[in-house]
């Protein structure tokens, strides 16, 4: 099932809105092992939103697994860039802390 962001939250601006999307993704991953997140109709996302929606997933799985199991679709360039940037930066930070 596709998670339609705009049907869950009014915008992608705050941590609280991100947390709602995280819950939906985590639920889909538990049930079906994968998730498709559609940003159709949403123009932008803040770092706070992305931290709570996607970076939190790094507590549950690796970045490689996120890449395989979570598809981000219908996303504007800004949304694609910020998700990639935040996940990559936080995964690198976590790997440095482990090393």
């Amino acid at each position: 099932m596709v998670i339609s962001v705009r049907h869950i939250v009014a915008g992608c601006d705050t941590n609280d809105e991100g947390a709602q999307i995280y819950s939906a993704i985590a639920s889909n991953l538990r049930v079906g092992g994968s998730a498709i997140v559609s940003f159709a109709g949403i123009q932008n996302a803040t770092s706070s939103f992305v931290n709570s929606a996607f970076v939190e997933l790094l507590n549950d799985m690796s970045l490689d697994d996120i890449k395989k199991q979570v598809r981000i679709v219908d996303a504007s360039r800004q949304i694609r860039e910020i998700i990639k940037r935040r996940l990559t930066a936080e995964a690198e930070k976590a790997s440095l802390q482990v090393a």
Binding site: A40, Q43, T46, S48, V55, A75, R77, I83, R86
Partner: protein, 304 residues
């Protein structure tokens, strides 16, 4: 009753704000007067950051310091005073407009007190449509710009004592920047200020060093558990690095400017360390053509 007069400089924009705060510093060094008189008779030109800054200082003096604030020299035959009246400055600080018929110009986003609970809706429903209309582009082209202002609002929520900030914006058809037409926005809050917040985790830094640290990727004051220090660096990357704009940060005793150099790299410069700004004021100026440069409206799948 003790009374001090603050003369507003003729060009109240950018770094000239330091002249006002320097006067304020001198005035309050020997104790807080009962009344401050802001004399506008010399004012000839004011920018959005100046409007928000003055508004914040006046609010700070009356609310936080208990001083009475009076405004004089409000000659409506002068363009700068009419502009302030059109920006609803006097309506908010004197209780009514100087001229009842004053109204914001199409190129002006008036001084707005922002309740942070409503801030993102204000941005989405009113401010972005205003900017898109003014710049003649689609709202989707302003996604990065909207994100940056949202990041500032989130920052205010994370760090301010009062859940209220202020914002004003202006489109300058013939701006005096090297890149011509520009849109400028000033955003301010009444928080602790960046230096005091940063010093909770880095106690020995100067105010200027604290501001630079706050804009460094990955630095966080951990004021909330979910704070990861990504929002402010993103703002600099989008607006200075990508759009070629200017960002100036006023907080505590320092003013720090972020600019893109000829080599394309982002550089910061400390332009003052002896001024004073209550809370934080951020002045953002971007070339009007940034929306077409960024081009945000293509939806697709994230490719790793």
């Amino acid at each position: 009753m003790t009374r001090e007069v603050i003369h507003i400089p003729s060009q109240l924009k950018g770094l000239t704000l330091a002249r006002v705060v320097a006067q304020l510093d001198e005035t309050t060094a020997g104790g807080m007067p009962d009344e401050f008189v802001f004399d506008f008779s010399g004012l000839r030109f004011i920018r959005p950051a100046g409007i928000v800054f003055l508004s914040n200082v006046m609010q700070w003096l009356s609310d936080a310091k208990g001083a009475r604030v009076q405004l004089v020299g409000l000659d409506t035959s002068r363009d700068a005073i009419r502009f302030l009246d059109n920006s609803l400055f006097f309506e908010q600080h004197c209780g009514s407009k100087l001229n009842p018929e004053s109204t914001p110009r199409p190129t002006t986003w008036p001084l707005t007190r922002v309740d942070m609970q409503q801030s993102h809706a204000l941005l989405q429903m009113r401010m972005v449509p205003w900017a898109a209309d003014t710049l003649g582009c689609e709202a989707g082209n302003l996604a990065s710009y909207k994100t940056c202002i949202s990041e500032l609002f989130n920052n205010i929520v994370d760090h301010t004592r009062l859940d209220i900030g202020g914002i004003a914006a202006q489109y300058f058809p013939n701006g005096d920047f090297p890149f011509g037409d520009c849109i400028e926005v000033g955003v301010a809050d009444f928080g602790l200020g960046i230096p005091a917040t940063v010093r909770k985790v880095e106690p020995d830094v100067t105010d200027a060093e604290a501001i630079k640290l706050a804009f460094k990727e990955g630095f966080s004051s951990k004021s909330t558990p979910r704070n990861r220090g990504a929002g402010l660096p993103l703002l600099i990357d989008y607006l200075v690095g990508a759009a070629g704009g200017h960002v100036t940060v006023f907080s505590g005793n320092a003013i720090v400017e972020f600019r893109r150099g000829p080599d394309g790299r982002i550089a910061s410069r400390v332009s003052s360390q002896d001024s004073f700004t209550p809370g934080t004021l951020i002045e953002i100026t971007v070339p009007a053509n940034f929306a077409s440069q960024v081009g945000d409206d293509d939806e697709g799948e994230l490719e790793w």
